[in-house]
């Protein structure tokens, strides 16, 4: 396993483009997070301190940081599709197989890399959130701090799932640009299915229940948007705003199911294909 990871890391880290993209996808959310946590003085007119809004309180901070950080996954998604696309355009996939990487190992080395970087991203976000939280939070009891760390698990699963989808599209289409375009196509297709479900069942709630099983939506639903929750903390009397934002086991199960399917399909695809 380490050997396969090591192979892939050499391919990625010696390539300048992917190195920059990896750097951006990890350092950028981190910097944004740190920047937003410091007090910004707008030329003496007013000071903006996001910490004052209470968004860096435990346990809501886990929800907020993982939600926003997950948008930076698109940078690494480019790395994932290009690491497949490059293997095809350089024909190095063929040479790798001839040199003695089995087809299974080839897919696994990509998957381990995905898991490795997802884990790294999760740890970075966890550490950063933890320290910012400690600094700003009004509550620092241990059980409150660690109450909603399930968002970290959700964040990790979300990244692994999304990158596995990218991996599959990369294997399917062999070209990075096509694979990225296909992500957008899938997004539209999911809304079309939603529309189809709405037409046949007649209400949006059921239609959303159907859409929740589709790959992109299931990944998005892992971490629900936190805006409504921030509103609730500000205006506790508005009970109609209350919604279910927690991470549920079945949401994780759906995404893990998709992940397994994408990896399996990528393997099948490579196995059947003549290079």
């Amino acid at each position: 396993m380490l050997r396969l990871l090591n192979l892939e890391l050499q391919k990625l880290l010696l390539n300048r483009t992917s190195k920059i993209l990896i750097f951006v996808s990890f350092i950028l959310p981190f910097t944004v997070l740190v920047l937003s946590s410091i007090k910004i003085n707008f030329f003496g007119f007013f000071t903006l301190e996001l910490g004052e809004l209470g968004i860096f309180n435990f346990p809501i901070i886990w929800h907020i940081t993982t939600f926003f950080a997950s948008y930076f996954k698109f940078f690494f998604a480019i790395v994932v599709v290009s690491m497949i696309g490059n293997e095809y355009s350089n024909k190095t996939i063929k040479q790798n197989l001839i040199d003695g990487v089995s087809k299974k190992e080839f897919i696994l080395s990509k998957f381990y890399t995905i898991v490795f970087f997802s884990l790294l991203a999760t740890i970075l976000i966890a550490v950063a959130s933890f320290f910012i939280g400690l600094y700003y939070s009004s509550y620092t009891e241990v059980n409150i701090i660690f109450r909603e760390t399930s968002f970290l698990l959700a964040y990790f699963v979300k990244l692994v799932g999304f990158f596995s989808l990218c991996l599959f599209f990369g294997m399917l289409l062999r070209r990075s640009a096509f694979a990225l375009a296909f992500l957008f196509v899938l997004y539209i297709v999911e809304w079309l299915i939603f529309w189809g479900a709405y037409e046949s069942f007649g209400d949006t709630e059921t239609a959303f229940k159907v859409k929740r099983f589709l790959p992109l939506e299931s990944m998005y639903k892992l971490i629900d948007q936190p805006f409504q929750r921030i509103m609730i903390t500000k205006f506790p009397e508005k009970t109609d705003l209350i919604y279910d934002y927690a991470v549920h086991w079945y949401e994780i199960a759906i995404v893990l199911g998709w992940t397994a399917l994408f990896i399996f399909l990528s393997f099948r695809l490579l196995k059947k294909r003549d290079l």
Partner: protein, 298 residues
């Protein structure tokens, strides 16, 4: 003799096209094998199948004694197919380091092999800056990294200039002299003739010949004859069973021998039968003629 690769009734179909048809041959240790065939005769497909990048339709093959999986066997094989494929943004050294990681070979081999192919001075240059000849030599270095039992080369001199071709050929001979088994696919006849001891001839995916190169060439040769009385000569040749096929071009008659016979004996025989030859040459076929004969007349 130890067998390295055994292929039995291998068939590969690409849709309606049959690229390899019912192919069987064996490769033994210590010889230099050539797979010879015109473009599109299934050479690369055959190599692709045994190297696990192309899926076979039917038949089977096994490496070594048949007890190792193809995946493990490939670690004892060095191969390059078609063009040299490396990561363009990595240097030669880094590319070879990656291959070492794949094959589980010590990094100390890298310098040793780069020395053999003469790329030491350029080892830190990026692969994309290499000329085709250098790329091809790097590919050979890469295939040699694990000190393979067999080295498989697919058209290694394709697209190279005469100097490059010469370099690669002497490299192959040097490697073969150290006892490494080599399998060389090529459509260049003189290449196979110069380098190989055994040959498998393919045409449209079918095996036409397999055996030693010198045996393929050593038919009994043929005679070029001219006489004043051409018709009489032809009649005489057709009557005798030691002459096989007879070709007539203008005045020149080409008669293929079915039995060994000296030019001297031919001349004597003709004279005794009242035919005076004005021209008599005995020739041996080159591999090229043999090859064209094999691939055209079937």
């Amino acid at each position: 003799m130890d067998t390295i690769l055994t292929i039995n009734n291998l068939t590969k179909k690409f849709g309606y096209l049959t690229a390899v048809k019912d192919l069987s041959f064996t490769i033994n240790k210590g010889n230099v094998y050539g797979i010879l065939g015109p473009n599109g005769s299934g050479k690369s497909t055959t190599l692709g199948i045994v190297l696990n990048v192309v899926n076979k339709t039917s038949g089977d093959f096994h490496w070594f004694d048949g007890n190792t999986t193809t995946h493990d066997a490939l670690k004892k094989v060095g191969a390059i197919i078609e063009r040299p494929n490396f990561y363009p943004y990595m240097s030669a050294y880094q590319n070879l380091k990656l291959v070492c990681k794949i094959k589980g070979v010590d990094y100390s081999k890298i310098d040793e092999k780069l020395e053999i192919v003469g790329l030491m001075e350029r080892k830190d240059s990026k692969f994309q800056t290499y000329s085709l000849g250098m790329k091809q030599r790097l590919a050979i270095a890469s295939a040699l990294l694990n000190d393979p039992e067999i080295l498989i080369l697919d058209e290694p001199t394709n697209g190279l200039d005469p100097q490059g071709i010469h370099q690669i050929r002497s490299l192959i001979k040097q490697i073969a002299s150290q006892g490494t088994t080599i399998l060389l696919a090529s459509h260049l006849l003189d290449e196979v003739e110069k380098v190989c001891t055994h040959v498998v001839v393919l045409r449209k995916g079918e095996k036409l010949y397999s055996g030693r190169v010198d045996e393929m060439i050593s038919s009994h040769g043929y005679l070029e004859l001219k006489a004043e009385n051409t018709d009489g000569l032809v009649q005489f040749l057709e009557a005798k069973k030691m002459f096989g096929k007879i070709k007539i071009e203008d005045e020149l008659i080409t008669a293929f021998l079915d039995e060994p016979m000296d030019a001297k004996d031919v001349n004597k025989l003709m004279f005794e039968n009242g035919i005076v030859l004005t021209h008599l040459v005995k020739r041996k076929e080159s591999l090229e003629e043999q090859f064209l004969q094999l691939t055209d007349n079937n």
